[in-house]
Assembly symmetry: C2
Homo-oligomer: 166 residues x 2
Amino acid sequence: MEISEHKHIISVLVTNKPGVLARVSGLFSRRGFNIESLAVGTTNDPAYSRISLVVHGDDRVIEQVTKQLNKLIDVIKVSDITHSETVLRELVLVKISAKPEQRTEILTVSNTFRGKVIDIGDSSMIVEITGHDEKIDAFIRLMKKYGIIEIVRTGKVVLVRGAATT
Amino acid sequence: MEISEHKHIISVLVTNKPGVLARVSGLFSRRGFNIESLAVGTTNDPAYSRISLVVHGDDRVIEQVTKQLNKLIDVIKVSDITHSETVLRELVLVKISAKPEQRTEILTVSNTFRGKVIDIGDSSMIVEITGHDEKIDAFIRLMKKYGIIEIVRTGKVVLVRGAATT
């Protein structure tokens, strides 16, 4: 049997209750899927949250998992938007080791990437940057020469282009 | 007994394995805590992920939960950084109903909030905006007059100011 593994982008609309997230992520982990990225946030209606997932795995198995997700109490809607035209974004905070004389250099690179410097310490800077993987990875690569102290990422969120809802 | 309920910001460093997220979020939900915000992303070392949590609850109970978190396999470090000097950011994508003649108006407001227009459709626009709750809420409030089609949020990520690590 041919196995066809791909990256899947799945958007799950759930009621905003304790335990829902653990049940949704548990469904993937019980089948040995490692979730590459997960983000949860409230929607325009505070009664609902949206979980955005990026999972790498066999197409047929992921189809089964999304069917099981649909059966969970508190899951309102599951959309596999892997093949839709989407915008996908992630927010990353990067804390960089920075001597005072390096600040201008780091600021210039950050501006080029449309990043924002949000903290300057005696020997460090924090830059906020958003985008897709390639852009963020390129920025982090450039910052390595100064020394990266810490990185924190939000996980990816995604919307379908145009007026349609997910 | 006096109950003292506050918002807590908790940062959990974990090994990047299936099931860890479900176990961490399950610990909170089993005690009836609703997680207000949760974000998971890889760190500079891809073997580890960081889970950033915002939870509202009784101080003593949250202290117990963080102690239990520390005992979980695959949890490397738990930091309650509620009282540290931090930068806290969230990324939000807002899809707005927009007629062509409204685009300039929406673009102007977005620029003021340092948002980025990342999609323009025949009757819609998507704006990417980052910041803390008050800024994001103010932007969403202003966009309501055009009609909000959809909102997706990453959950909040946080770093301690200065050179120290979390």
